[in-house]
């Protein structure tokens, strides 16, 4: 296992809120996005379900579990929907929203802001 390194991937302003920018770090495609709460996320651009470029999916809100016939919208800007089969992932934790059966999980890397620079560790 290679030693982990820090990679400065750009300024905070390079990453608009609510959209992934996909960059190559040492041959690995990583999606970087800024969430509405100001936090950054670095996500491997491979869907844990069947390998889609998951970071090309939209960052959305979703309809939360509700009573029959009722719609409750929530989690706006916190959910990544895979562009293929549509699995929804919680961008706060990386977890798949549906937790029954054998849920999958996004592979996320630590990301920090240092002097306005976005720094990913992988």
């Amino acid at each position: 296992m290679a030693e982990k390194k820090q990679h400065t991937v750009g300024k905070t302003t390079d990453f608009p809120v609510g959209k992934f920018k996909i960059i190559d770090i040492g041959g690995r495609e990583i999606g970087i996005a800024q969430l509405k709460n100001g936090e950054f996320r670095a996500v491997r651009n491979v869907c844990p379900h069947k390998g889609a470029p998951v970071c090309k999916g939209p960052i959305v809100g979703t309809h939360l579990p509700s009573a029959v016939g009722e719609l409750i919208y929530g989690r706006d800007g916190e959910v990544l929907a895979c562009p293929w089969h549509g699995f929804e992932f919680d961008l706060l934790t990386g977890d798949e929203l549906i937790q029954s059966g054998k849920p999958t999980k996004l592979l996320m890397f630590p990301v920090a802001v240092e002097n306005d620079n976005v720094v990913v560790t992988l």
Binding site: R44, V46, H49, K50, A52, P83, W84, G86
Partner: protein
């Protein structure tokens, strides 16, 4: 399941070969793109009607919950809907996944022929779309093969269309837009006769308006209420059709005919065959032209595409069921560029190597007219 970093067929196995038997080309500007391929009088009619056909034919309640059936991430760089640029498709699907033959099946033509166009309109449009794809797609790359469409509202015209272009070397199947008439019905026989004559298999696939409009097959029991509900029931027409083909004696009448069911699923086949076989043993004399067990007809004449592969919690359960079915029935398919596509590198990885290769390669070669 966690995905390997790169998705290539069967990891690094360069000897592994792939035929993709379900790829959807989209004619970019729909009907207006095919004007050069039809008589002027018909062009004038469609112009005056302001006729269009989009990528999808469905009413509001069946719109895809994420906005479209086609993958957003597969849009060609030059713009347009996913699947509308043959050059990009070759790179994005064939080269990336090392696919050697891809069978194109145009659902715009399918939807027009099954439902959206009138009978005469569908005959003209079907020929125009076929000619457009031959001209603008097949010439791009020899790996692109074609399931030509037929105007199924008029079986005689459909048979004529098969005889008109069916000898093209890249045409490998006939895409038959189903109506709400079971496949064993004699309505279809002129088409089967022409298909057998041309040594082309019949390929069936939902055309889009299924269970939505009157015309194409409708799911059993009533009309579903959402995209999800409808999607889950789309296999039903496949089950009814397998049953109908066998008991109506189609394969006795057309002993060289082959049929491939694409995107209807396949795990239902095993219990269906058990039930068909038992019932035949009990009541064979009602259909005395059925001389062999239904199981034998299906194994000899019918194939199923793999996508969308069902996903039991333990993937080994799927492998076991396929082992019970046998490995001769399945042909790998992606369904690119649709949202529910399966790519070769992630599909059926638990099967034994030789059997997996049959499903991804050998079975397609003996099903489609590949020379």
């Amino acid at each position: 399941m966690d995905m390997p970093e790169k998705s290539v067929p069967s990891s690094q196995d360069t000897a592994f070969k792939v035929v993709d038997c379900d790829v959807h080309p989209y004619v970019k500007d729909g009907i207006s793109s095919v004007f050069p391929y039809m008589p002027d009088a018909w062009k004038q009619r469609f112009l005056r009607k302001r006729a269009t056909v989009g990528a999808e034919a469905r009413s509001l309640k069946y719109l895809h919950p994420n906005g479209q059936v086609n993958r957003e991430d597969a849009r060609p760089p030059c713009g347009g809907v996913s699947g509308s640029d043959p050059h990009f498709l070759v790179q994005d699907l064939l080269v990336k996944n090392r696919i050697e033959h891809a069978v194109l099946n145009c659902l715009q033509t399918g939807a027009l022929c099954s439902t959206l166009a009138g009978t005469d309109e569908s005959i003209v449009l079907c020929a125009a779309f076929n000619d457009y794809l031959i001209d603008q797609w097949l010439k791009v790359d020899n790996r692109l093969k074609f399931a030509m469409s037929v105007p199924s509202q008029d079986p005689q015209a459909a048979a004529a269309e098969i005889r008109r272009i069916g000898k093209h070397p890249q045409i490998v199947a006939i895409s038959l837009p189903l109506l709400n008439i079971l496949m064993g019905n004699r309505y279809w026989w002129p088409i089967y006769e022409a298909a057998q004559e041309m040594q082309l298999p019949i390929l069936v696939h939902v055309t889009g308006p299924d269970s939505i409009f009157y015309g194409p097959p409708i799911a059993a029991g009533g009309i579903p209420d959402s995209y999800v509900e409808r999607y889950v029931t789309l296999n039903q027409a496949g089950e009814s059709s397998v049953n109908s083909l066998v008991f109506s004696g189609v394969f006795e009448k057309f002993p060289n005919l082959k049929v491939i069911f694409v995107e209807y699923g396949f795990l239902w086949l095993l219990p269906l065959l058990w039930r068909m076989d038992r019932t035949w043993r009990q009541l064979r004399h009602e259909v005395p032209w059925v001389k062999k067990s239904p199981v034998e007809y299906v194994h000899k004449h019918i194939r199923f595409s793999t996508q969308p592969i069902d996903e039991p919690e333990d993937p080994k359960d799927l492998d076991k069921l396929i082992d019970l079915m046998g490995y001769d029935q399945l042909c790998f398919s992606t369904d690119y560029p649709h949202w529910d596509n399966d790519m070769p590198g992630q599909s059926l990885r638990g099967l034994p190597k030789a059997e997996r290769q049959k499903i991804f390669w050998g079975n397609a070669l003996t099903t489609f007219r590949m020379r």
